[in-house]
């Protein structure tokens, strides 16, 4: 989900009527104000308005000044949030609860999984500490604790709890952790065939897969499993070294290899 505070849409008059539907997810609106410009007319609607379901109100054409003020305020910097319940400012990132009234807050869109789980943004990670943080968070955030609370609190607890689940699952395993770290740096593994793949490597993968497929005894399977695990450990070290040095392309290549071997490791349980 994109983290924005001010989002500017330029659309035709025909598209205007569908704008409210585009932002049906109120959650992402809690932090955004939306300005739409249509030729000379400026239509301004805020998150409050959309929550009330009213579409937009046209602003007068005054607006040489209005334009420049719109342009000035366009920013993706973090806005200071206020607690939806008591109005006090919510300073910390990520914010789970208001420190004044202790009401559960909506998830912080700008927080990374590392911030949510209170871990340094490094590939090397203490998984025991991660697990403890996960349990501590779910103890207070899980929707089971909110069955007698207001609808809004239940909703926020659901979102927070789901997000914590996602963050935990992503950071727990080296493969997903590494891929997430690349994502944070704007790097993705594209869908589709890897045209530059090393044929020798693909051949090796084929042979291991075929051996696993053809294995007739538990011992054979375990042997292949052990070799695969060794390969994965070796790749983990290489990924850590590459990410530490900021060598993203190298890390990406190792993560791709890891993906293939992780699939093999999953198969041996079958």
């Amino acid at each position: 989900m994109v983290s924005l505070t001010i989002f500017r849409i330029i659309c035709t008059s025909e598209a205007l009527h569908i704008l409210p539907k585009l932002f049906a997810n109120r959650r992402c609106l809690s932090k955004t104000s939306i300005y739409a410009t249509l030729c000379k007319n400026f239509i301004n609607f805020s998150s409050k308005d959309t929550q009330n379901n009213s579409c937009f109100k046209p602003v007068s054409e005054s607006t040489g000044k209005h334009v420049s003020s719109l342009l000035r305020t366009f920013s993706t910097a973090s806005e200071k949030l206020n607690c939806w319940n008591c109005g006090h400012s919510v300073e910390q990132t990520p914010a789970f609860f208001c420190i004044f009234c202790n009401f559960v807050q909506p998830p912080d869109e700008g927080a990374s999984y590392f911030q949510i789980m209170d871990c340094d943004q490094t590939f090397a990670l203490d998984t025991q500490r991660l697990q403890k943080r996960y349990l501590d968070l779910q103890r207070t955030l899980h929707p089971d604790n909110y069955t007698h609370k207001t609808v809004k609190e239940q909703e926020f607890s659901e979102y927070q709890s789901a997000l914590v689940n996602k963050a935990y699952r992503t950071l727990l395993k080296p493969l997903s952790r590494g891929l997430y770290m690349l994502e944070l740096k704007g790097m993705h593994i594209q869908e589709g065939t890897d045209a530059g793949a090393d044929p020798t490597f693909l051949m090796e993968l084929m042979e291991i897969n075929e051996a696993l497929d053809g294995a007739r005894s538990r011992e054979e399977v375990d042997k292949i499993g052990a070799a695969t695990r060794e390969k994965l450990n070796d790749l983990t070290k290489r990924i850590e070294a590459s990410l530490h040095k900021g060598e993203l392309q190298a890390a990406k290549a190792f993560l791709v290899q890891m993906k293939y071997f992780a699939n093999i490791e999953d198969k041996q349980d079958q």
Binding site: G192, T193, L202, M203, M206, D213, A262, K267
Partner: protein, 148 residues
Amino acid sequence: MSNNTTSSFGRGRCYFKVVDHYENPRNVGSLDKTSKNVGTGLVGAPACGDVMKLQIEVDDQGKIVDARFKTFGCGSAIASSSLVTEWVKGKSIAEAMTIKNTDIAKELCLPPVKLHCSMLAEDAIKAALQDYRVKQQDIEIEAVKASN
């Protein structure tokens, strides 16, 4: 299976196509990749970690007489490669080159999230055809050298 059941899936026949290829895959196996009549395509998809090997055997008239595949990946990837081996048998090299991932996806009714599997199968057959072509060129070069 009753009509009610198939219609409840919406596209009943399509649903069973992928399952059918997965449970009864056609042409699983290997051909001798050292043979001069065999082209081998070996492709991988990094995002999902699938690997696919597709081989064709071509006769002296340039017609594909046999095709085998081995795919390690999801059901859609297996079905896509299985389908391609069915399709190329009896076709010429030129005809086989025209196989598109969109045809494969349409035949198997692949959902959007699985379209890359059909792409992988298209790349595999193209790689096998290319490998065969390169082999034939090498043979020609050798023949020219030998006659000089």
